[in-house]
Structures are given as C-alpha cells and as structure tokens.
C-alpha cells in the first residue's frame, strides 16, 4: 500500500514538473517595452514589473490619460527624446485611467511599495505626502521655468509639509461652453460681455430644459467632481479665490450665508433642469460626446482639459473639428466679489515615489520635462495651457514635429481665438484642490451625488460638509 502511495506521488510530481516546464516562463528574458505599455481603462491590477536589461537603468512611470491620445503622444515624445540623449536609461510608461491608477498606487504603497513605479501620476493627495510616499521636488526642479502658480499646488504648509511634491505640467482654467446652434434655436442671446447674471443664467437653464435640452452636459458616472461645479463656480464668484480656497479645501465651515447662497443657487439650477437625465450614470467620456456630438445640452461646465477628450479623432469619440461652440464667463452672482475673475488651478501632474531606487534619475527626467520647449509642445499638442513658461516665437514646435505626433497645425485656432476673446483679459483666481480624505469624501457625497440628485437638502449638505472639515 505504502509503495503504491509513493508511486502515485512520484507520478504526480513528474506530471507537475512536465506541466511547469511547458508553461510560460515567469520572467521574460528578452522583451522590454521602452515606450508604451497600455493598460485597459478600469483595470486595477498592477502590471508586471519590467526588468532592466543590458545594464540600463530602468525607470517605471505610471501615468493617467490612457484615453487622451494627445497627452500620451506628448509625454511619449519627451520620453523618446530623453532616452535618445540618455542611452543608459530605459523608461517604461504605463497608461492608466485615473481611478484604477490611484487604487493601484494606494495598494502597492500600503503593501510596502513592492512593484511600485518610480515616476507616478500625482493629483493632490496630501495623505500620500503625510504617508511619506512622495519625494520633495523643491530642490529638484528648475522652478524658474514654471508659472508661479505651479509652486502653490502640491505643497501643504498647513499640514507641516512645506516642500513641493508635484510637477504640474498643465495649467487649468475652468470654463463654461455653450452650443451656439441650440442657443440660436431657442432664441437665447448672449450678452455682449459674454456673462449672464445669476437670474438670467437660471432662465437660460429653464429655457433649455423646457425645450428638452439639459442645461449642461456634465454627469457623475465615473468622476467624483462634475456635480460640484455649479456650487464651486457660484461660490468662487461670490467670495473670491481666497475665501473659496478655504471652503473648497475643508478649512472653513460651510454654515455661512455665502456658502448657503451658492448651494441654494445650485439647487435652483437643478430644479430648473440643469443636469442631463443620465446624470447619475454618464461617464466622463460619454458626457463629452453628449455635448459635442449628440448635442443634447445647452452648455458645459468644463476645465481646459476638455481638449484631451474633445479634440481626439472623431472615430475615437472626439468632436467634429468644424463644429465651433461658444464660451461664456461664469454667471455674475448678486453681490459677487469675483465676477470678473477666472477660477484657475492645475490638473493631474507627476511625482516621484519615495520607494524608488532611482530618485535622482527620476528627478532628472522631470527637470528635463520642465524645459520651455516642452511647455510649448504641451500646449501645441494637447491644446491645454502649460504650466511651463515658454517663448512661443522660439519654443513653439515646427509643423513637422506636430504632424509626426498626429497633430494638424492650426486645426483648433478657432478654439483659442474664442478662449482669448472671452477669458483673455480676466484675472486668474488660483485655487489648488488639496483636501483631507474625510472632507473629500463628504464633498463627493453631499455635493457631487446628494445635492444634484435631490437626495439631500442644503442644510443636510452643509451638515455633512461641516462634520468632515479638515483639522
């Protein structure tokens, strides 16, 4: 009996060895991806860690913008340039959508950082800095190359972290688009200064809604912030950027007349038909299409990163390049102190994880990216303002470079002309978006989901926000 059992075990062992030998080797020996490893959107598992080869230094870089080809093209161009000038360095870029990327970073870093990248997308998570995950870039970057706004974001002096942890490549201003065709159809006339009053704007929304159009195209299917915009735009105009920053970052209680006025105005807009019927389920890609292709909304609250999705090829979900929408200033709030200001900030940027074994090279890559020519390239390719200063006459990329990156020079000039016409002379009010985790969750619940869908009252929203203020 015993003999039989040993024999059986031996046979099983042999089978196991044979099967193992037939399998794929755990670590490929030859394949090294130097530029692009595309991860499908909404995949949360961390990709297999690439291996260094030929004695080269391997830098792993995880970035948001999987769905934004222009931004990908621009960053890949920088990577290719850097690798050409530094043949001893291989950079492996992995493209993600934002939510799974953040989940993956949190998972790998809370587990000790095994498999974490060197360079990483960084939005403004102060907890990541508190956790010691982010490397201070204060002495690593040529800050004189940046717009001064860049240093105001990604720094947390109130929490005891006065360093600079974020490389901001993009300068964002928050805009308000309108569909010229629908406005004409409904007889809505835009004021000469491109700014409705608070009550006029409410009437516009009501008129649109009565005609079967949504007031704006925004929705919250996979983003925690579009539902907050009406409140933020109104509050910014009411109290100005400094006060707004305090409210917005959870440092000031919302139980104030100003904050309540903004919240109540957003409720009146909601009741007039501001949101699309599919507000709760439409994703960020879908609501862009809802505005520019389906054209079911009169207006669109959107920051300058609209171009990342809107200016893609039409077959990929972008807009018709010949369809020109208009831009509006924010509604002028009654007694608003900043009705002539434009709310500006930043978007996703980059940082270096403290678990990186290649901090110096990673810093060098970011410093390389901070050159004026790449600021110009960012703007030219992504049609989004750059945080890196440049001299257009000297740094703007030539047409061959743009064409090689699938960009048609001059295609979007109408957009920039409209932007300059409407927002060009406005003063920027800078508002970084750093929030503590509890307050951020309260904003999502109360202002992104609750208030826009009528699930909470203004008083309940205020109570939720004030219960979660950052300490």
């Amino acid at each position: 009996m015993i003999k039989k059992m040993y024999s059986l075990f031996a046979v099983m062992l042999v089978i196991a060895v044979i099967l193992s030998a037939c399998g794929t080797p755990a670590t490929p020996e030859t394949v090294i991806q130097t530029v692009e490893v595309e991860v499908p959107v909404e995949v949360t598992a961390a990709p297999e860690q690439p291996q260094a080869q030929d004695g080269k230094e391997l830098i792993v870089w995880w970035s948001h913008w999987a769905n934004e080809p222009a931004k990908k093209a621009m960053v890949e161009k920088v990577v290719a340039d850097y690798e050409a000038e530094h043949p001893n360095v291989d950079i492996v870029l992995t493209w993600w959508d934002k939510n799974p990327l953040k989940d993956a970073i949190r998972s790998t870093m809370t587990a000790g950082g095994e498999g974490a990248p060197d360079l990483v997308y960084f939005e403004n998570e102060v907890e990541w800095v508190e956790a010691g995950w982010m490397v201070d870039l204060a002495d690593a970057l040529p800050w004189e190359n940046f717009d001064p706004m860049a240093k105001l974001d990604g720094t947390y002096p109130d929490q005891g972290f006065p360093g600079n942890y974020k490389f901001n490549i993009s300068k964002v201003t928050n805009m308000l688009f309108y569909n010229k065709d629908i406005f004409a159809e409904l007889g809505i006339e835009v004021p000469a200064n491109d700014q409705f009053t608070q009550s006029e704007f409410l009437d516009v929304v009501q008129t649109c809604s009565d005609a079967g159009y949504a007031g704006v195209a925004d929705a919250i299917g996979n983003r925690p912030y579009p539902g907050v915009w009406p409140v933020q735009y109104a509050l910014f105009s009411l109290v100005g950027p400094q006060e707004f920053n305090l409210f917005n970052s959870g440092k000031k209680a919302w139980d104030t007349p100003e904050a309540k006025a903004a919240l109540e105005y957003s409720v009146s807009l909601r009741d007039a038909g501001l949101w699309p019927a599919s507000f709760s389920t439409m994703t960020i890609d879908e609501f862009h299409v809802y505005f520019h292709t389906q054209r079911k909304a009169c207006m669109f609250y959107i920051p300058t990163w609209y171009t990342g999705r809107g200016f893609k090829a039409e077959k990929d979900g972008g807009q018709d390049p010949n369809w020109q929408f208009g831009m509006l200033r924010y509604p002028a709030m009654d007694n608003g102190v900043a009705n002539n200001m434009l709310w500006a900030g930043t978007e996703s940027g980059f940082g270096i994880l403290s678990t990186s074994k290649h901090v110096e090279t990673s810093q060098d890559i970011l410093a390389y990216l901070a050159q004026p020519k790449y600021g110009a390239l960012w703007t030219a390719v992504t049609n989004s303002p750059s945080m890196i200063k440049y001299d257009a006459s000297k740094d703007w990329p030539d047409n061959d470079t743009l064409t090689a990156l699938n960009i048609t020079p001059g295609q979007w000039d109408w957009y920039w002309n409209e932007y300059d016409r409407v927002y060009g002379g406005m003063e920027l009010g800078i508002a970084p978006t750093a929030r503590c985790g509890d307050f951020d969750a309260a904003v999502v619940s109360a202002l992104n989901e609750g208030l826009p869908q009528g699930l909470v009252t203004v008083d309940e929203a205020v109570a939720m926000l004030d219960a979660a203020l950052c300490k």
């Binding site: 075990f9 709760s280 619940s445 699930l455």
Partner: protein, 303 residues
C-alpha cells in the same frame, strides 16, 4: 468497513500523508489562516504609512467603537442585511420553481436550462456594466420600453434616486446568480428516488402532493445548502455593486464589502486597521447568520 487506523499504521504512513496533505495545508495556512489571523490582529491597530514607514499602533477596541458611530458603515450594514434577507428568498423561490419546470420536462426545457444558467457564466463586472446601460434613465432598454408602451411615468432614474438603487442592485445580482441555485436544486431533484415517487402516485397522490409531500422534504437539505450559499454570497457581495453603482448614490447601495474596499484602498484614509475591524466584525455576523439559518432549517428537516 469502519476500520480504525492503529498507531503503528499511522506511524508508517505519516510521510505519504504529509506529502499529500502538506502542500494543501501550507496553502490553507498561508492564504486562509494567516490572513485571517493577521486581519484580526490588524483590527486592534492603526496601520498607516507615516513618513514612509508602515506604522502599526495598538489602539485596542477603538476601531470597533468607531465603527458603531460610522453612519456609512451602519448604512452599508443595513443595505447588506436587507439584501441578504430578500435576495436568498427571491433566489430560492425562483430557482425551485424553475428546477421543477426543468425536472418535469416542460417543452423546451433543455433550452431553458441553458438560458437560465448562462448569466452565471458572465463576469459580474460585465453584468454590472450592461445593467447600468439597461437602467439608464434616458436611453436604457427598460425606460425606452416603458415609454414605448405609454408608461412614461414609470420610467424612473433607477440608479439616481433614494429608493430604487438598492432594489436594482438586488435584482441584478439575483438575475446573475439564480442559475447556480437552480442547478444545485436540479441536481438534488435528480437524486430523489424514482421508486418513491412511483409509490406515491400508486397511492393516489397527485403531482402537487408529490412535490409538497415527497420531493420538497427530500430536497430540504439541498435547499438549506442553497440558502446558506446564497446568504453568504449576498453578505459579501461586491463586484456587481462596484460595476453598477460603486456603492452610490450617497451610499444607498453601499455594502460592507464595497465599504471595506473603499476604506482600505479607495479613499485616502490609508489606514488598514479600520477596514480590518470591519472585516472581522462582518465575518462574525456572517458566521452567526449561517449558524442561525442552519439551526433553524435543520429543525425543519427532522421529518
């Protein structure tokens, strides 16, 4: 046949026993026992990265006490319990009915068996996404159909209200999983001795009497298993909720499992102790629930 293994026999066989059982035991200890014990230990600590170091700080029962005052946790418990009561009942009633239909070979029964089992083969994430489209207010199949037959008032914003999202999630999960219960019950029905049924018929029992008096009592142990499995499935439901609503709006579809994920990895709270306490507490609740179901239903089986 009930042969006892003597001490000597065991001694001579310990090596092969170890060889066969050892790897499985190692796997079980490494991937089941250790994580459970670690989670239990973590639940009494704060485990957060501070200045680059994963720092473990003993906090005693604080995490458990905090849980009792956490409105989102309470909401998620409420949702999960509603689901765990409603879901298994819906599932077993449907599965039982359908299993009988197939057992009695209604016309097209082979097709039905495949059709009803098929949803189980689809990934929960895909199911969630598809139903998200189906329940879309504007162009979802459900509302389009309702409007097409003139029931415009019934076309609701199913996933964006206070009252309907949880019902939608329960329904979608039910749709995706009842096939499994049906197959288990069908297997149980197939095991009912044919002689017993013949004898009942000879004694003058009609089909309903055969079902109620013979088949269901024999099927009872299988039904208990199905009910327990369904209950456990609902108590730890995650993927369909995640894909369909993400726990929203305003946590109206939050389950304990989705909240644990959010607190552990989704939010920037970065403390693994608190979600560990949630997991341990919920593990206890599930064990008690399973125990109660077993105890209550096994009493009914003593026929």
């Amino acid at each position: 046949m009930n042969r006892k293994v003597s001490r000597n026999q065991f001694k001579t066989r310990w090596l092969p026993i170890l060889l066969f059982v050892g790897p499985v035991m190692l796997y079980y200890i490494g991937f089941m026992i250790y994580p459970f014990l670690a989670t239990f230990y973590y639940s009494f600590n704060t485990i957060a990265p501070i200045k680059g170091e994963l720092t473990v700080t003993f906090v005693g029962l604080k995490n458990y006490i905090d849980l009792l005052g956490d409105p989102i946790f309470i909401q998620s418990v409420k949702n999960t319990l509603i689901w765990s009561i409603v879901g298994p009942v819906m599932e077993i009633l449907t599965a039982l009915t359908l299993a009988f239909l197939i057992y009695f070979k209604v016309p097209l029964h082979r097709f039905y068996r495949t059709a009803w089992f098929t949803p189980l083969l689809v990934s929960g994430v895909i199911v969630g996404l598809v139903f998200r489209w189906i329940f879309n207010y504007e162009w979802g199949l459900l509302n389009v159909s309702l409007r097409a037959v003139g029931l415009d008032d019934w076309a609701l914003n199913w996933l964006g209200r206070r009252d309907t999202p949880l019902m939608v999630v329960i329904f979608v999960h039910y749709w995706a999983t009842f096939g499994y219960s049906m197959v288990l019950l069908l297997a149980g029905l197939s095991a009912v001795p044919e002689e017993l049924l013949d004898a009942a018929r000879v004694d003058g029992a009609n089909r309903f009497q055969v079902i109620l008096k013979i088949m269901i009592p024999i099927l009872w142990p299988t039904m208990i298993t199905v009910l327990v499995l369904s209950f456990i499935g609902k108590m730890r439901a995650f993927h369909i909720v995640w894909a369909l609503t993400g726990g929203g709006p305003l946590h109206f579809t939050e389950t304990v499992a989705t909240y644990v994920q959010k607190r552990a990895f989704g939010w920037n709270t970065l403390d693994l102790g608190y979600p560990s306490a949630m997991s341990v507490l919920w593990f206890g609740v599930v064990m008690i629930g399973v125990g109660l179901i077993n105890r209550w239903l096994k009493r009914q089986v003593e026929y």
